[in-house]
């Protein structure tokens, strides 16, 4: 495991936010430097105004059982896990280009987003580490 982990959070469906929470929190707990770059429809999960994240249609039928299982196993919501990762030093950046495309400004994002940056800034931060694309 390298000393740095970069996560490109691209998907906007609810199921994909679970590994974002789990892996960012686990990596931060290991003392790994974590940078999350949010782009595409994933940006919808980070706005101040809460938006419902859909499940992928092929799994829509399984979503209620999954929600129940998460609750029964006391798995915290993804944003709580990401908050804990941030307590341990993780940083979250929103993609400037996709934010503009979706009409989102820095003030539209909630407290999880540290800054709105360009792709080059993120790539520079990610250099020399491991990168995950979710």
């Amino acid at each position: 495991m390298a000393g740095k982990l970069a996560i490109v959070m691209f998907s906007g469906t609810a199921d994909k936010f679970i590994p974002l929470g789990v892996l960012s929190q686990a990596a931060a707990a290991l003392g790994v430097e974590v940078d999350v770059f949010v782009t595409g429809f994933a940006l919808r999960g980070f706005t101040k105004k809460k938006q419902d994240l859909p499940f992928p249609s092929e799994f829509a039928g399984a979503a209620p059982a999954l929600a129940q299982g998460l609750k029964a196993n006391k798995v915290p919501p993804w944003d709580e896990m990401l908050s804990r990762a941030k307590e341990l030093g993780a940083k979250v950046y929103a993609c400037s280009m996709m934010s503009s495309v979706m009409g989102l400004k820095k003030e539209d994002f909630g407290g999880l987003v540290d800054d709105v940056v360009g792709a080059a800034t993120f790539l520079q931060k990610a250099e020399g580490g491991q990168t995950l694309f979710i």
Partner: protein, 83 residues
Amino acid sequence: MPPEAETHRRIDSRGEACPGPITDLALAYRRAKDGDVLELWATDPGVRSDVRAWAERTGSELLSVEDRDGAIVSVLRVRRRRP
């Protein structure tokens, strides 16, 4: 001046899903000093391998992992890496 006594801290992460226990351990580690003993109580089965990975990562010493009272109890000694 004698060195500050080493402490033994118990962390209760029972009922917390992965990666809750390892996060609680990391937060306790932040406040710990070299030689301190951390005793992590957890019920998520992932903790067995996670404490090994965490100990390896931080240079801490994993003293034991055992089942006790329906929980998995891991005992670690904090080893601060010298700069």
